[in-house]
Structures are given as structure tokens and as C-alpha cells.
Symmetry: C2
Subunit: 338 residues, 2 copies
DNA sequence: CGATTTTTGAGGTGCGTACCTCAATTTGAT
DNA sequence: ATCAAATTGAGGTACGCACCTCAAAAATCG
């Protein structure tokens, strides 16, 4: 049987009240008494029963996910996973809410963060581009005892352990390697389609992509990124224009999760180009299965969401996390392993 | 505040004792009373507080992993993850032990299973080849109230929900697709190296591999599988012999997790062959990074282990699992996304 | 040294549930 | 209608811990 606080008290030769004071960091205990208790903890291998502690404390964990408004199928998937995680974690007294933000309005975001109350929220996960105001607001949250992580698209300054998501440079490099191997080994051009190159993740992906192509596939030329700004018509126009002005397009790399328009245009071309896209959505899955897309680079939204919740909770409990469980993998999907 | 059993009792117009009987599936409650309580659960959105329940029950969960004796680096990784999961799940009162078995001795395995006591073990995860005796022993365990799953290499008869691991046919198909795309697009031969083709997973992988190659890469010829029987010398001998007798080997597919010997020999050949192997070990990782292996098809041992523990626990609690979390993915690793 | 402050002990209550007992009530069968 | 059986209620104890109070003991100070 696992030792309890009672066993601890006996082993340390103190009362339950003192054990409690030490365990919960309360004042009014002499240093050497604290030491005695800590030694007993060591000796017995006492592990605090968090389950019972939280029950006694009546504690529950309330987390907040701040996501960009609107959004693509990938984001919709993230929201769906949050709902799912909410059910799955409910027996463990954890709850998550989604709030949408204008991800281009740092002032609004900082404002929202500033108004959060530690009484009502235990942790926040933010998906927003890099803004100094947001970063500062996050720091102030931490001071007020609210745990924060940024996820999917990270704040540049955030320490690795404060970021839940993939290494986008590596993801781009992965795309680059696959492109190099999937495209024909003769001279050709690669089209890169992004929603915007202002986002850090797009930049990093492109960077990683270029690195690999330049180093190992010099016969391929990567064209300047096309920016769709989320506008399907603009998207169609500029991609068509690219095909018109460039002969020999051997591959298309779609940086963002909206692959529909690029795909339609590419498949309408007379010559087949290798297509690599990001994120698993109903649309990209179907395209992969039908052979229109050659490979998908993804991160598992379910894993992301659960990881965020476990990490935030560990922060609240001042516990260590199981690093290997929280590492978000860069997944490669082809038709066969979908 | 979340509704408690007390709220439930009031809402259903019954006593706490009756609520308890319904929640814990005890006998002696009329059908319509059960119905009333269930309706109240619906209406209030009652979620049982597992934390409190387990505290009251004083229950802990003891699980047993039965793994083949000896074993490769992959197995060692699995064991390491079990140790790790043991720590991570300790606050939730779950413990796992490893016991090694002779995976070719069904009698010993069945015997061991037969002696397990429901007082001491709540669930068992078995990694062993298909044997009728083992299957029967597992069925008897279930009758005695001990949860079972087979993992990694499944019992053929086990329902999908009783198996934790990847679809090996799909994994082989994935390897096939990558081989098709990585190998040169001229006529060539593919070497397949397995520990033994008696194991079901090897057979299935080979099957999936062949399917893809035959369908889409007819210029590639897949040679009969070489069986190493886990013997490095034999392994070296037969692989060398293959290279000697076959010209134009364009690729090597290593079915099992022991890639060392095949790799050494292949890289010693004058012509480069594409190499695809299974499982992530210190050795295969290094080989992938150094460019000796082209791709790895893997399943995450950490995920496997945690999944087993969550599933076994859900069985014990007669709870549903979160299917999306427990689906083990067929991962593809290349140098860039390791 | 006594007076004051600090430290410690003893004990209680409650968190939400499990599980038990015993008596009271209802139901079903005859 | 009667009796046995099935169902339900009331109430208690326990799980391991947090948090509280009050008094007793010990340490510290002038």
C-alpha cells in the first residue's frame, strides 16, 4: 500500500497538522522540522495522492483556448477535438472553453488576456501570431498565477516548453525532402502556395523547404511564394498566372491547410505535378486517397489539444510532464498509412 | 457546480442508496426506477467524479505486460516506456509490471495466464504470436474478470478493439509505396529481410508490400523473403548470398526491427539500394540521420504502452474509450522529421 | 527569570463517492 | 387477503487529503 500522510506523520515523529503544513507550504514550521518531514517523504517514498488532494480542495481546472476567428477545416478539427477532450477529461475535473479572437489584432488579444481572472481560469492556450503586446500580456498572466502555453503557431520568444506544436522548419524540410524524391529528377520548378508569408509558421516552413531543395535537389527551382490571403478568387488567379508564365512546374507545395483551390488548378493542368500539402482535413484526406495529393505533412489536432490540457494541468499542480508524451510529431501521410 | 449523486437522488426522487445501485450496476432495482435515475442523469448532465469514486473504492489498477524474452532494441524501448508510464500514471493509481515469456511456448504462456489471480491483476497486455491455447487462456481470463488486450503482434481472432497496434498490412503497403517512389524507376529487384515469416505481422507486412509493388511498380521484382531467425551470422550469410546471385538489387525492405546486419551488408555493396526498415531504435535513428536508411515505418512505443493502460483501465471501469486517442498511427520517418 | 512569540499537536469537518447494514415499503404470487 | 420476495430508504463508515480552530508546548527575548 502506498504510504499516506498519516504514515508520514508517524515516520517523521510529528503530527498530521505539521505534515499538512509542510506539504502545502504553509508558514509556522521550523526549518529543521520541515527537514525531518522531507526526509520521511524520501524514506517512505511518499507520493502525494493528487486525486484525494483535489477532491478535498474541491478543485477543478478551467482552461481557455484562444483560436483565430473564422478559419479553415483544420481549425474546425481543432475545435472538434477540444469538445471531445472536454468530455474525455471531465471525469478528471478538467474543462476547456474556446474563445475566438481576431488574430491580427494584438490589442484586442492583449486586452482579453488582461481581463482574465485567476478565479475563473486556470490556464490559457493561445494560437496567435507573434506580437510584443501579446507576449507581455502572457507574462503578466503568469504572474497572476494563470498558466499559459502558445500552440500551433508559436510566439517566437516562448521557451520550447511553452510551445505545443511542431517545429515548422523541420516540417518544411520534410516537405522538401519528399518533394525532392517525388518530383521527377530532371530540371523543374516548384510552386509554393501560402495564405500569407507574414505568419511565422509559413516563413519557417518555406525556409526548411528551401534548405533541403537547394542542398540536395539543385535541379529543382523553388519559385517565390504565392500569397492567397485566404481569398479563393485571388488564389485561383495567381496560381493560373504562375502556370501560364512558367513552363515545367514539377511540384506544388501548399504551405497552409487550405489546399482546395490550388489542387483544382494543378490537377487541371496537362502535366502532372507532385503535390504536397499540410494538415489532415476531410478535403485533403480525400485528395490523398484519390491520388491527387502525393503526401500530407500533419500534426495531430487531437494530440495537440490533449497535450495542451495535460501541460496546463501539470503547471497548475507544479508537476513535471512526461516529455515524450507531449512531443508533437511531424507526421507524414501517404495514401497507404492514412 | 457539477451535480453530485445527491442532486441525482433528489432529481430522480429516489434515495442515495438507489442512485448508488444504479450507478454501480448492482442488482435489486426495478427497471423503471433505473430508467428514472438514468433520465435524471441525462437531465442534469451528471458526470461521475471518477476521482472521488476511486478514492472511495481505494482501488488501484495493476496491469501486466507479457513480452517476449530477450528481444531487440525496439522491445527494450517498450520496456523503457512501461517504466516511464508507471511513473506518469502513478498519481492515477495505475501500476504496470513486465513479465517475460518464451513467445514460442504457448503452453507456458497459457499456464502463466491461467494462474493469474483477479485479486492481484486487473488487466493483462500480451505480445505473443497466435496460438489457440493462448487465445483460450485469454478468454478464460476475461471470464474471471481480468481485462486483456493483445498488442503489437495481435492474436488473429481478437476483435479490433482488443488489439493495440498498427495494421501491419497497411504498414507493409506504406513501405511498398515508399519503396516504389524511392527506388529508381528502372527494372530492379527488392530484397525482403525478416526474422521469421512464421509471425503474423511479418506475413501481413509482406502482403501489403507486395500488393502495392505489384499494382503500381511492375518494374520492381520482390524476391522471396530471407529469414534470419535472429541469428546475425546466418543473416549476414544469406543476405550476402542474395547479393551475389542477384544483379540489380534496387531496394531492401527490412521487415523486423533488427536492421543492423542487413544494413552493414547493403551499404558495403558497390551500388546504392533504397532501404526501408521498421521501428525507431537508437540504431535505426542513427542510420536514418546518416542517410543509410531512407525511411522508417514505425509505431510509437510510448503511445502503445499508454494506450494499453488507458484501455485496460477503461475496461475495468466499464467505460468507453476515446477512440481517436487510442488509434495507433503508422508513422513514417525520414531524416527531416525524426 | 518571566513574558512574548513561534511552533506544534489534537481534533474536527468536508470533498464525492463506494459499500455496507437493517428496517420499511412495495410488489407479486397464491 | 396473505405471505414471501423483491425493492427501496436511511444512515453509517471509509478513502486521503485540505483546511480550520484552539490549546499546549517550546523557543526566543529582554
Amino acid at each position: 500500500m502506498r504510504p499516506t500522510t498519516k504514515d508520514l506523520a508517524i515516520a517523521a515523529g510529528v503530527s498530521l497538522a505539521t505534515v499538512d503544513r509542510v506539504l502545502n507550504d504553509r508558514s509556522g514550521v521550523r526549518k529543521d522540522t520541515v527537514e525531518r518531514v522531507n526526509q520521511a517523504i524520501e524514506k517512505l517514498g511518499f507520493i502525494r495522492n493528487l486525486v484525494a488532494a483535489n477532491l478535498a480542495r474541491g478543485k477543478d481546472y478551467r482552461f481557455l483556448f484562444l483560436l483565430p476567428r473564422g478559419g479553415d477545416q483544420f481549425l474546425a478539427g481543432v475545435v472538434a477535438r477540444i469538445t471531445e477532450a472536454n468530455l474525455a477529461f471531465a471525469p478528471e475535473m478538467m474543462r476547456a472553453e474556446v474563445r475566438h479572437i481576431h488574430d491580427s489584432d494584438p490589442h484586442q488579444i492583449a486586452n482579453l488576456l488582461g481581463r482574465l481572472d485567476a478565479e475563473q481560469v486556470d490556464g490559457v492556450a493561445i494560437m496567435a501570431p507573434e506580437f510584443p503586446q501579446v507576449r507581455d500580456a502572457m507574462a503578466r498572466l503568469a504572474e497572476r498565477g494563470i498558466a499559459t502555453v502558445s500552440f500551433i503557431s508559436g510566439q517566437i520568444s516562448s521557451a520550447p516548453e511553452d510551445f505545443v506544436g511542431i517545429d515548422n522548419r523541420a516540417a518544411g524540410a520534410t516537405a522538401g525532402r519528399l518533394m525532392g524524391r517525388f518530383a521527377p529528377s530532371v530540371a523543374g520548378k516548384i510552386l509554393v502556395v501560402a495564405e500569407t508569408m507574414h505568419a511565422r509558421d509559413s516563413l519557417e516552413r518555406r525556409l526548411g523547404f528551401d534548405e533541403v531543395i537547394h542542398a540536395d535537389y539543385p535541379h529543382l527551382t523553388v519559385l517565390p511564394s504565392l500569397e492567397t490571403y485566404g481569398d479563393p478568387e485571388r488564389s485561383a488567379r495567381i496560381i493560373r498566372a504562375s502556370f501560364a508564365s512558367h513552363a515545367g512546374i514539377a511540384g506544388v507545395y501548399v504551405l497552409g491547410p487550405e489546399a482546395r483551390v490550388p489542387l483544382e488548378i494543378v490537377t487541371a493542368q496537362p502535366t502532372r505535378a507532385a503535390i504536397i500539402a499540410h494538415e489532415r482535413t476531410p478535403f485533403t484526406e480525400a485528395a490523398l486517397l484519390s491520388g491527387q495529393i502525393d503526401a500530407l505533412i500533419t500534426q495531430d489536432p487531437g494530440h495537440l489539444v490533449r497535450s495542451v490540457m495535460r501541460i496546463l494541468r501539470a503547471r497548475c499542480d507544479r508537476r513535471e510532464i512526461l516529455a515524450s508524451q507531449e512531443k508533437i510529431r511531424i507526421e507524414i501521410f501517404i495514401k497507404e498509412n492514412l
